[in-house]
Symmetry: C2
DNA sequence: ATAAGTCTGTTGTATTTGCAACGATAGCGA
DNA sequence: TCGCTATCGTTGCAAATACAACAGACTTAT
């Protein structure tokens, strides 16, 4: 497990913690690791977990099958990313998605109770990890709230208005560059690309906005 | 501030902590309180905060104005509810919504740093509060993820399928009662009530589902 | 029992969307 | 330069949606 310490050093969870301290904390936190072959499930829908997980090798898919069997891929987890933090609390209830290894993968497990309850030996950086965990969760939370704000609008135009307003706020300017191309923006807002493209042009004709590729200006 | 201790005892943040311990922690956490008259802002969009807040009296609205001035009410905060936990971390960035007192209100402030970094005097229940905070955040997170899963579907039928599938999972049964009437469900899924009502009936005609008021059975 | 109010389903219409296809443009490497 | 690809706008059409209006079933207050 030691060989993954340099990698862990650069994760959000261990941000600001040195390699020596991480090494000490691995035993303090009683970290475990597991290997999953391609096609194996790391987590299954309905399962209850008590660990926060970090992928240290390979690639995972978060996916969901509905009652009638339609599958959709929610997100992709890459090396160094943390997952499970929203479902590790005791009363969390079951995980709602499957997590599948799409290639040979290694996952590290950290018991959430050992992270949250400060150890008696009081390793210096323990509280830093608790902070990091809190920060990661609250950041995740903010992004979800923001996205919900866009998606709760009824029409494509309203979604665009909400999104562009937010970007203008964020940049403190009515002129800004967004981090998406048209297809990505459409996926982000859950609308059809061509319909969105058309709506953008109509908004331009209505004198609400000017744009050039990913650069926008609100009027 | 002492008079609010019995109320705090029943909040999510202080769950499991006795009144005496809360009393001790108020000073340990250097809790502050503030009073807001009707129409006063508790938080304004663009502001940066470093406290977690609990409403101990009155009523607040979380609301949002877009670039063109359209206002929408996001949620209502009642007595005993916690807010601000998603924006209290140092690198959180600005709050994106306004929080307004819609009647005379009293809010208690808890410095997030003092909650997260365990105090040297090590009051016994401090780590319990950290746990509660984590649990509250992760629960909030799960609900947001779930709602996003419903809202990212394109059609009303797909949203209903996603929602009803989730409820069936949660109840471990294909038959269950939902906590919404038609209008509330439509608001929750961000669709038109009558269109949703029609779609539900078409799904029934297609043999996918049976229902009677708020009681559903998937087939 | 009556009246008022709530919840739900139904219908019709104008609007919006999803989808597929096509053309224009720009960037890039052979 | 030529072809290849990615991106973006545009169009036509079928499908889905929002919106308004209304009717029946049921609940509640008087």
């Amino acid at each position: 497990m030691k060989k993954y310490i340099p990698l862990l050093k650069n994760t959000l969870l261990f941000s600001g913690v040195g390699e020596d301290e991480i090494s000490a904390m691995l035993s303090c936190l009683q970290a475990r690791s597991g290997t999953y072959g391609k096609g194996e499930y790391v987590l299954r829908q309905g399962e209850h977990i008590g660990d926060i997980m970090v992928l240290v090798s390979g690639k995972l898919h978060v996916q969901c099958d509905d009652y009638w069997g339609n599958r959709s891929i929610i997100s992709v987890i890459g090396v160094g990313e943390m997952f499970g933090e929203s479902y590790a609390a005791p009363e969390s209830g079951a995980v709602v998605n499957d997590v599948l290894a799409v290639e040979e993968s290694v996952v590290m497990f950290f018991d959430i109770k050992r992270i949250i309850t400060v150890c008696s030996s009081a390793c210096r950086f323990h509280s830093l990890v608790v902070q990091n965990l809190f920060y990661a969760l609250s950041e995740h939370n903010r992004k979800l709230i923001q996205k919900l704000g866009f998606m709760s609008r009824r029409t494509t135009r309203e979604k665009l208005i909400a999104y562009l307003s937010e970007e203008a706020k964020r940049h403190n300017s009515s002129e800004f560059t967004i981090p998406f191309n048209r297809q990505q923006l459409a996926d982000y807002l859950s609308v059809d690309r061509s319909a969105m493209s058309g709506e953008l042009c109509r908004m331009r004709d209505d004198g609400m906005v000017e744009f050039e590729r990913s650069r926008f200006r609100l009027l």
